[in-house]
Assembly symmetry: C2
């Protein structure tokens, strides 16, 4: 059991926070919108707290659950307050109709460039719809990152909330996971429906 | 039951041909290497035949099972012999260490540009390792293509050999499936092993 800090107070923050609290973690919510964060903390319960946006998060793992369009700005605003932290990037840098990506790098690599050097970025959870994650069922969670230690810590957290972690490789593989986010949306729209999650099975 | 033409005589041609023949389809193999194609036809059995490379394939569905590096050349060589056919592109345009793609478009779109206008390209089977496909177990098969009719015909074939078809969208989504090919390799190399196949589940 550990403290999980979540920057954001939307759909994904709610799904991750609820799932984390249900499995015994202490959740800290950090949002520019303090009222919304407090409402979410009350909803999550289990001792969830609201921290000060921009101050050093309480948890070693900080899940950055804001939309792609504001994620680099949020991380830059935090600056050195994120030194030494494990930053979990769950964002999807989709274009307007979610048919392609708007970056030739990856959101995760852009976040790594904006974060303190001592922080470690791990891509995760971008291939799971928030409402599917919220159901609490077992799911596969793809991750990518350059720090084996950080990936191991994130994997331990994900496994603790009922997800099976599958490692896709180093941080550049975040681009592959962001494309997998497009795949999820494409499958959902073309007949499979939005209760879908990607996975991988051994045969 | 239908005639399936396969251009190629390698690992994927063997896996697809064997699976098709086992489920009652007639397999025609087309390869520059006639001796290799004949050996594969003998191995597949069930009435599998060897056609003339470059001549009009017998099947309405033509699976182009040659490596990415020679696939556009092979399709161009066939030229008008592929008029009206459904071309199934299974190729993966990977770079040397399979960490990225060597095209900014997609192999499927490159093939469509090289094929007769009346041909319809469907991306499929590039996210399944040949040796996993050869096991004969049920698997998810992602497809993409612009012709709903062609996708429907390919889906019917794939379902007939025990695969569940999941539609990712139009032909540009082939790029997303080619990135999913990278994901498969990445997961395999980073702990999941090579008996892995991608899939999607409703939750």
């Amino acid at each position: 059991m550990t403290t999980i800090s979540i920057i954001g107070s939307g759909n994904m923050a709610a799904a991750i926070g609820t799932r984390a609290a249900k499995h015994g973690h202490t959740v800290e919510l950090l949002s520019r919108n303090t009222a919304k964060a407090q409402a979410l903390a009350d909803q999550i319960g289990e001792g969830a707290t609201v921290g000060t946006f921009g101050a050093t998060p309480a948890g070693d793992i900080v899940i950055v659950a804001v939309p792609y369009t504001s994620v680099v700005d949020a991380v830059a605003k935090y600056g050195e307050a994120l030194a030494g932290k494990i930053l979990v990037d769950i964002s999807n840098p989709f274009n307007a109709d979610a048919s392609g990506l708007v970056t030739t790098s990856s959101a995760a690599q852009e976040i790594a460039a904006a974060a303190p050097e001592s922080a470690h970025v791990v891509k995760a959870l971008n291939t799971i719809f928030g409402h599917v994650l919220a159901k609490g069922t077992p799911l596969d969670a793809f991750i990518a990152g350059d720090s084996a230690e950080a990936k191991s810590a994130v994997a331990e957290f994900l496994e603790s909330v009922g997800l099976r972690t599958l490692d896709a490789g180093g941080l550049p593989a975040a681009a592959i996971l962001e494309s997998a986010g497009l795949l999820l949306v494409g499958l959902a729209r073309n007949g499979a429906g939005f209760d879908l999650a990607l996975g991988a099975e051994v045969h």
